[in-house]
């Protein structure tokens, strides 16, 4: 068996995009994985194969192609169930991504269950997709949205949660398992335990966590869980919403249309079985199949190896970056409490200027508010630069990043 080190070196060849150069013939150093990841040949080929050999709509026709496409589509549902440890495949709903998943919950669970005066609790380090749907819902229902604050190390202050739960008005606590800006890994177990004692439902935004570490839904014990395919080697436009069945059964449909119905008459309709009640219209068949290939790829590597590789990279990057004079890293220094996401600011240089200058060296990092303006306000910054890692990144990528910061320092006379 090959060592894990050579495993990660060898897998770079599966990603055709990593062979290209950018700008002035510089090799691509892709460090924007918290935004989206690159795709291996195995995923690209699965999508091409579907369109070249099997393309047909699912769940309807009886001919051979339709049977093949339905089988491949449904096979991904089983792969997901296995990957995140879900026993009942009927609890897995395909959506466009985490954003749609959370909006689905806000609409199809929130509207029938939230009343005037109820409280929904989120956190200060959420992505806009786990804030705005709850603002829309609470405004419509004259309910309240409350935030668990974050301390200076980027960890949640759970005393806030106790205070909210003590009101007896909280109906849902929603939080990300890993911050997309700070990389903080949330102590989900503790939050869920408190919520269970209080009889309150929990939603986890797993968009940043599922691609980077082993996630076991049964062990977590939450009620809703959402994540996206494109942040874990899969195609864009496909994501997963898992909902515990007893909760799922209390929800109204999200979109009405084909495939979600049992019988339609002129003035009334009965709904299809779960999960199809929540999958109206022709779904994103090709990308669901591509997502299946991505899960196979990650399963083969092993999520514990993925996490170990990223811990190694993050440790190295934190060491190297903290040696750069004038560079400030946000969030905890404790590697065991963070994922492979590093947000920083470099002296008084605006992150957009940092990103543009190092782009000339072939480096792709994100700069801006990262769809987390509530968090930016809390950190009292307009924006940050963010480097985020994945399985194909190397220590050499980090060396190139650190060296490129010298150019920034020179241009801005730091």
């Amino acid at each position: 068996m090959q060592s894990t080190e050579s495993l990660f070196e060898n897998l770079r060849k599966d990603f055709p995009i990593l062979k290209r150069t950018v700008r002035d013939n510089k090799p691509l150093v892709y460090l924007d994985n918290a935004s989206t990841t690159q795709k291996p040949n195995q995923v690209i080929d699965a999508i091409t194969d579907y369109y070249q050999n099997h393309n047909a709509n699912i769940h309807r026709a009886v001919y051979a192609l339709a049977e093949e496409s339905t089988e491949a589509y449904e096979a991904t549902r089983d792969k997901i169930a296995n990957f995140i440890n879900v026993k009942d495949r009927q609890e897995i709903i395909f959506v466009r991504g985490t954003t749609e998943a959370i909006n689905l919950v806000a609409y199809a669970w929130g509207r029938p269950h939230i009343d005037e005066g109820d409280i929904i609790v989120t956190t200060e380090y959420e992505h806009h997709s786990n804030i705005v749907p709850w603002q829309l819902l609470t405004q419509e229902k004259h309910a309240k949205l409350e935030y668990i604050r974050m301390d200076d190390d980027g960890e949640l202050i759970l005393d806030d949660l106790d205070k909210f739960l003590a009101t007896g008005k909280v109906k849902l606590v929603t939080f990300s398992l890993m911050s997309n800006v700070l990389g903080t890994i949330t102590d989900a177990q503790k939050i869920i335990e408190k919520c269970k004692t209080a009889g309150v439902l929990t939603l986890i935004d797993g968009a940043q966590a599922v691609p980077h570490m082993k996630v076991d839904i049964e062990k977590l014990g939450c009620d809703f869980f959402a994540f996206s395919g494109h942040k874990m080697l899969g195609p864009t436009g496909i994501g997963v919403l898992w909902i515990k069945k007893p909760v799922l059964e209390t929800m109204v449909p999200f979109h009405g249309g084909g495939d979600m119905i049992r019988e339609v008459h002129k003035y009334e309709t009965t709904w299809n079985d779960l999960p199809y009640k929540f999958e109206a219209g022709t779904p994103n068949i090709a990308d669901v199949i591509g997502f299946g290939a991505a899960i196979d790829y990650l399963t083969k590597i092993g999520m514990d190896n993925v996490r170990e590789h990223e811990v190694e990279l993050t440790k190295y990057a934190m060491e190297k970056l903290s040696q750069v004079k004038g560079l400030h890293i946000y969030g905890t220094k404790d590697i065991s409490k963070r994922g492979g996401v590093i947000s920083f600011n470099f002296a008084d240089v605006h992150p957009h200027d940092v990103a543009q200058i190092i782009d000339e060296e072939g480096i792709a990092v994100r700069s801006g508010h990262h769809c987390a303006q509530v968090l930016m306000e809390r950190l009292n910054v307009a924006a940050t630069s963010r480097a985020s890692f994945y399985i194909y990144n190397t220590k050499e990528d980090i060396d190139i990043l650190v060296n490129s910061l010298n150019i920034v320092a020179k241009v801005f006379k730091l």
Binding site: V349, H350, H352, D353, Q356, E360, G368, A382, V411
Partner: protein
């Protein structure tokens, strides 16, 4: 071929470090705020207007070096102009001052945020001081065609 990083020449860096006309005018005659939803850059412009002439102008806010340099240059160009003269200031008037005529599309919004705020401030002021309401439609049309 010049590289995109060449935009960071001395003048831009100097302006971003030491912006000109930076600050607030407490007794302004008009003020306007806008931000760029994608990057979070945020600019306010205050103006003192006397007898249809812009006698003082200041900006404040946060943004990248391009945004801060362009805001500085724009306020320098605008100060002392009449309202009619300020109405016809164009993007190239600002960009050419800084050698940014070929700025890539993704950064052009950084460069022109302050111009957008200036024009919005001008139309707000002119709209509030119109003598006959017929001019309002012409004004609205002109404002709508700006971008």
């Amino acid at each position: 071929m010049s590289s995109n990083a060449d935009i960071y020449h001395e003048m831009i860096v100097d302006y971003s470090r030491n912006p000109v006309n930076y600050g607030k005018i407490e007794d302004h005659d008009v003020t306007f705020h806008d931000s760029n939803p994608l990057c979070g850059d945020s600019i306010d412009i205050d103006m003192k207007i006397d007898d249809n002439k812009i006698t003082d102008i200041k900006f404040h806010g946060r943004g990248c070096a391009i945004c801060m340099a362009c805001s500085s240059v724009l306020t320098e160009i605008t100060k002392g102009k009449t309202l009619d003269e300020a109405r016809v200031i164009e993007k190239n008037d600002v960009l050419s001052e800084l050698g940014l005529e070929h700025l890539q599309a993704v950064r052009i919004k950084c460069a022109l945020l302050s111009l957008k705020v200036l024009k919005s401030a001008l139309y707000t002021y002119i709209g509030e001081h119109l003598e006959n309401t017929q001019d309002l439609d012409t004004l609205k049309e002109e404002a709508a065609n700006l971008y």
